[in-house]
């Protein structure tokens, strides 16, 4: 137990990286994912196909393979970035596919009658989107998006295999130095992930209440 408490700074350093990886990749995935979802629901066929292909390919590829392709593949075409940025990129590419699915299903779960009704009372496309469809879509999107981002939080642990000092890597380093305290060290790391996941679930719960307040 003392090994954990005496080395809290190592854990703090590691999990700070976990949090920043999560936040940066979440922002990236939100932007890319929304774009792809927009492509998938657009009336323009080539964009729809491209969006569908992206989701299909990325969703069926393990995140670890995405990591290998980014970290060892991109330098082959002369894209050389620090490992941290590679990790954010890999997590963004992967998570964007799931964000796109969440956003698309959120938009599709708004009953078609809602848009038809607003068109029939003479609203323009922009008004329909802004006043009727999107507010309802957002309320539907929050719960699946929450699980996507909590999965992202856990997925950042894979970066530990690619030279990045985050939570799991901090755990491994402490295990290497204190071989007799393996179990408390692992328990502490697990607890840290659980706390972060609970915190995110709590924040998304607040958000969910905020967007569904009007109903």
């Amino acid at each position: 137990m003392n090994e954990v408490l005496d080395n809290l700074d190592v854990f703090v350093r590691g999990f700070r990286t976990t949090v920043s990886l999560t936040l940066l990749a979440a922002i990236g995935a939100l932007i890319v994912g929304t774009l792809i979802a927009a492509m998938r629901v657009s009336p323009v066929p080539p964009l729809r196909w491209a969006g569908a292909a992206y989701v299909r390919l990325v969703r069926n590829t393990p995140l670890t393979v995405v990591f290998f392709l980014v970290v060892f593949g991109l330098p082959e075409v002369d894209v050389k970035l620090p490992f941290f940025r590679f990790a954010v990129l890999a997590l963004t590419i992967y998570t964007a596919a799931f964000v796109a699915e969440a956003v698309r299903s959120g938009i599709n779960s708004v009953a078609a009658g809602q848009a038809e009704a607003s068109r029939s009372i003479g609203m323009t496309f922009g008004q329909t989107l802004r006043l009727v469809v999107l507010p309802q879509a957002f309320a539907n999107i929050v719960p699946p998006l929450a699980s996507v981002f909590i999965a992202l939080l856990k997925n950042t642990s894979i970066a530990s295999a690619f030279f990045i000092f985050e939570g799991v890597q901090a755990m491994n380093q402490l295990i290497n130095s204190f071989g007799n305290a393996v179990i408390p060290i692992i328990a502490a790391a697990a607890l840290a992930y659980l706390l972060l996941a609970l915190l995110s679930a709590f924040l998304f719960g607040l958000l969910e209440r905020a967007v569904s307040a009007g109903r």
């Binding site: 002369d78 996507v148 179990i183």
Partner: protein, 285 residues
């Protein structure tokens, strides 16, 4: 395809606009692809040497096949064990006894909330200390996959049971079945059928996650790919080939899931519960 919410059936003007959009959008996509191809060409990624091993290196396919076999092996064990654990945990989770239910909730939430990688390391590193003998990499991977997916499957089954109309339970009680019998003989068989698509989708996740075995030196598909890269020096081509193998297998599984979903919609008229509806807790994917 679902009816689009955002736009109506298009008239002549909208159709013209869509056509222009298609051309512009298509051109943008082509330009992006062209830039990527140019970049690949400029870095000699189209050199024959990079592809040669795929044609005259029989060892390459032998090694990849070995890796794939290990991947499928681990996935197979984990699927069986996770299903058993999942059903047991679901029983616990649905129990009315707080002494059984609360531990089941704790176990499920713990395994769902912790990264799988951490579970793998935990088994691999802590097992020898607790038990006294080493745990082979295959079993560290399989057991970690079992714990995580067992917890997720339990939640899928629970969502399925709760989606069964209340009348089924009431009817079962009315003819004198006990709570356990009701669960075992009436609710569970229906729940598993309703949740079959979600369960199959979870198998895709499980199969993808076997690739984490590389961190503890288990020679699954990805790791054998990585070893080949060191000899052949063509990471982009080889990792893409590995990705392609995963994509093919997982697409087949996903196809099976949507086939089952479609068949169920036709035969029972009841919509199967979508996988996303289960993921409200600490999250899967």
């Amino acid at each position: 395809m679902t009816t689009p919410v955002l736009y109506d059936v298009q008239g002549p003007r909208a159709r013209r606009r869509v056509l222009i959009g298609s051309i512009v959008g298509g051109l943008i996509l082509l330009v992006l692809i062209g830039l990527a191809v140019q970049r690949l060409a400029a870095n000699e990624q189209f050199e024959y040497a990079k592809y040669e091993p795929f044609f005259n290196e029989p060892q390459l396919y032998e090694r990849l096949w070995e890796g794939l076999k290990n991947t499928l092996n681990a996935a197979g064990y984990a699927i069986v064990l996770a299903s058993v654990l999942g059903v047991l945990l679901a029983f616990g989770r649905l129990s009315r006894q707080p002494l059984i239910r609360l531990p089941a909730v704790a176990v499920i939430e713990f395994f769902r909330g912790v990264p799988l990688l951490l579970l793998i390391f935990a088994l691999f590193l802590a097992f020898p200390i607790v038990v006294g003998t080493d745990l082979p990499a295959l079993w560290a991977l399989v057991l970690a996959l079992t714990m995580y997916n067992g917890a997720v499957i339990a939640e899928i089954i629970r969502a399925g049971v709760q989606s069964i109309p209340k009348g089924q339970t009431e009817a079962a009680y009315a003819i004198g079945l006990s709570r356990g019998q009701t669960l075992r003989m009436v609710l569970l068989p229906q729940a598993i059928r309703v949740m079959l698509p979600a369960l199959i989708s979870q198998l895709v996740v499980l199969l993808k996650d076997t690739s984490l075995g590389f961190v503890i030196g288990f020679s699954e598909l990805l790791r054998t790919g990585g070893q080949l890269v060191q000899a052949l020096n063509n990471p982009l081509q080889l990792y893409l080939a590995v990705a392609l193998i995963y994509i093919i297998i997982n697409s087949l599984l996903s196809g099976l899931a949507s086939y089952v979903e479609g068949r169920q919609r036709r035969t029972s008229g009841r919509t199967p519960v979508a996988p996303t509806q289960v993921e409200t807790g600490l999250g899967t994917v």
